[in-house]
């Protein structure tokens, strides 16, 4: 093979006209061969054996670790969760021991954010309000994931009349905006008389699931016709088995992203309902209730409204940022190499 690596000029087109289809010219074309030492030859389709194996989740995790957006939001979420579970670690003052003597007082040592009109410590109420908001957000998200996930997966995977019926049902619930729907439910006597975290969760789940259902349906449709699903059916796997083993795990990424962002919007929705007087009962400490209570004094004492609002916004922001970061890391377009 090393017979003649030197450059050599040769006429190119002698006797070739009848074979080639393209145009020909009479120009002399140089025959160049790169030196072998500069262009070493590798084995065809060599298997890379170095490095640790990387699943898609491991790869996503490796990308996430480098994203400031993810690090910030994850740390904030961890903090919020810890505050929700152990509020007493963060606030020594009781949020419910209020004296009217302190009504609308400004900050003083031990009470860094001042007092509400009722004389309650603003800081303590802000810390203790975390739990209710987070509980509503998390349980609503779990609820919509179960209902919306099942509806969407069945509709997308089996298609046909089942899809048609479920799609219309989704449309019907979609036609009522989340807040409006929750308002209707929450002013039913059954709900109005038994206000609690759970009535709010039920109301939000009832009108929150269609979005997850649509996302799941889309992701499942995208994956159900992929070759690996066909292949596993040809291997003898039942259709339902293929749904559970192959289609659903591959559809998870967009669902997780939307669920994370939705969690934030459910917290906002809870606060809005509480603000309208249709959310959590007055006895439950929550950011929404506190904002609602502070509203009449907003012009004189805006801090009382702003602190719970800030806590609420930071929490919501961290869930939305987490969703954003996850979307970048799990982007299906970036998954193919």
């Amino acid at each position: 093979m090393s017979e003649n690596l030197s450059n050599k000029n040769e006429p190119s087109n002698l006797g070739s006209k009848s074979l080639r289809l393209g145009k020909t010219s009479t120009r002399v074309i140089e025959h160049y061969v790169a030196p072998l030492e500069e262009t070493p030859l590798a084995a065809v389709d060599k298997v890379e054996e170095g490095g640790a194996p990387l699943s898609l989740w491991a790869e996503a995790w490796r990308n996430l670790r480098k994203q400031p957006l993810f690090i910030i939001s994850a740390l904030l979420i961890v903090l919020v969760v810890v505050v929700a579970i152990f509020p007493q670690w963060f606030a020594s003052v009781s949020p419910t021991s209020c004296t009217l003597n302190d009504s609308a007082e400004g900050p003083r040592p031990g009470h860094p954010l001042g007092f509400t009109l009722q004389g309650c410590d603003v800081y303590a109420r802000m810390i203790h309000g975390t739990r209710a908001s987070l509980t509503v957000g998390i349980f609503t998200t779990i609820g919509v994931l179960i209902i919306g996930g099942i509806m969407g997966a069945l509709a997308g995977y089996y298609g046909g009349w089942l899809d048609n019926i479920l799609a219309r049902l989704t449309d019907v619930f979609f036609a009522l905006p989340l807040i409006l729907g929750a308002i209707i439910i929450n002013q039913l006597p059954l709900f109005r008389d038994n206000k609690s975290v759970w009535t709010v969760v039920i109301a939000l789940v009832t009108f929150g699931w269609p979005q997850i259902a649509r996302i799941t349906r889309g992701a499942v449709i995208e994956n159900r016709s992929s070759d690996y699903v066909t292949a596993s059916k040809a291997l003898g796997l039942s259709p339902f088995g293929a749904l559970v083993k192959h289609v659903l795990p591959n559809s998870l990424a967009p669902i997780i992203v939307v669920a994370s962002i939705s969690l934030g919007t459910f917290i906002v929705a809870e606060a809005t309902l509480s603000f309208l007087g249709l959310g959590l009962p007055p006895g439950v400490m929550s950011w929404g209730n506190d904002i609602s209570d502070a509203q009449p004094q907003v012009r004189n004492n805006p801090a009382v409204l702003l602190w719970p609002a800030a806590a609420l916004s930071v929490t919501v922001l961290s869930f939305i940022m987490l969703g954003d970061a996850l979307r970048d890391a799990l982007d299906p377009k970036a998954r193919k190499r």
């Binding site: 619930f173 009522l176 308002i183 109005r192 906002v268 309208l276 904002i291 939305i320």
Partner: protein
């Protein structure tokens, strides 16, 4: 196109019936006395109670009740408020105000949302892009009623640039601040959608081909990137018009705008459920129709859809 319109319209029918049935079912067929529900738990004069029973035909079987309710809805026979006014008349007075407010909010989010979104999308990864992106996240995270109070306090009370509350006739200039508050969250979504759409289309093959044809950068951006990128944005805006009217409840409550949202807000506070049901039913219809219009708009904008 005609077939497409017809098919979409047919798809709308079950949604309309389903959604109204849902509202009706929630109010009248859940455990507990529907009259108690309608009274908001407050004691009620026997005459009012009788009127309510007649209005909602509660002595009839459920399907008949629902049918009569639909008939009442279509004929705008929506019952009376506690003070004896026709609900339909009250809604007719309030509706134009909300429509005005929603259109202003829509204009606000369209102009600024598309503008910021396009610039951010074209300069992806640059300072402007990152700033706009973070700002939009913050706006989404803050509940509308907090934004409303803050802007009311700062712009309305402290700076005195606008009236903090809207007067009875709700003139255009007084609605600017509420419209901004109403449109802010949607603005953030419009920015993000436009930006994502632009940056996706920038890498499309046909954009590269357009560049290879020798078109100027400006023409490539306007004719090929913008035109294609704005299709999803426009459809979002269309659907948002319906959502804005529903979302006006909080904004109108804060600024005391005499619109349909405020009507709903007050009806909820006073427990006037007849009004609540009527207003929500109307809003659902508006929302469903807005979505139909959006679907048709989509078909007009994207030639591929018409033939599906």
């Amino acid at each position: 196109m005609l077939m497409f319109t017809l098919r979409r319209f047919l798809q709308l029918i079950p949604v309309f019936f389903g959604a109204t049935l849902l509202v009706y079912f929630l109010v009248f067929a859940t455990p507990g006395d529907p009259i108690a529900a309608l009274s908001g738990g407050k004691p009620m004069a026997p005459a009012v109670e009788a009127a309510l029973r007649a209005q909602y035909n509660l002595d009839q079987p459920f399907w008949v009740q629902y049918g009569l309710y639909l008939k009442n809805l279509v004929t705008l026979n929506l019952g009376q408020t506690f003070s004896g006014q026709e609900v339909s008349a009250v809604i007719a007075r309030a509706y134009p105000v909300t429509a005005r407010l929603a259109i202003m909010a829509l204009a606000f989010e369209t102009v600024f949302g598309v503008l910021f979104g396009v610039i951010a999308g074209l300069r992806k990864g640059k300072l402007f892009d990152s700033t706009v992106l973070v700002a939009s996240l913050v706006v989404i995270a803050i509940p509308t009623f907090v934004l409303g109070f803050v802007l009311q306090l700062v712009v309305g009370v402290q700076l005195g640039w606008a009236k903090p509350t809207v007067s009875g006739s709700a003139p255009w200039n007084e609605l600017i601040l509420p419209a901004v508050v109403l449109g802010l969250v949607s603005l953030a979504y419009v920015i993000r959608l436009t930006r994502a759409s632009i940056s996706e289309n920038m890498n499309a093959d046909y954009v590269r081909t357009a560049t290879a044809k020798g078109l100027s950068r400006r023409r490539v951006v306007v004719v090929h990137i913008l035109r294609n990128s704005l299709i999803p944005v426009i459809t979002f805006l269309g659907a948002d018009l319906g959502a804005l009217m529903g979302g006006a409840i909080v904004t109108e409550g804060i600024f005391n705008v005499p619109g349909i949202g405020n009507l709903l807000y007050k009806a909820i506070l006073t427990g006037e459920s007849a009004t609540v049901v009527a207003v929500v039913s109307i809003l659902v219809v508006v929302f469903v129709v807005a979505n139909l219009v959006v679907d048709l708009l989509y078909a007009v904008l994207d030639p591929r859809i018409r033939y599906v």
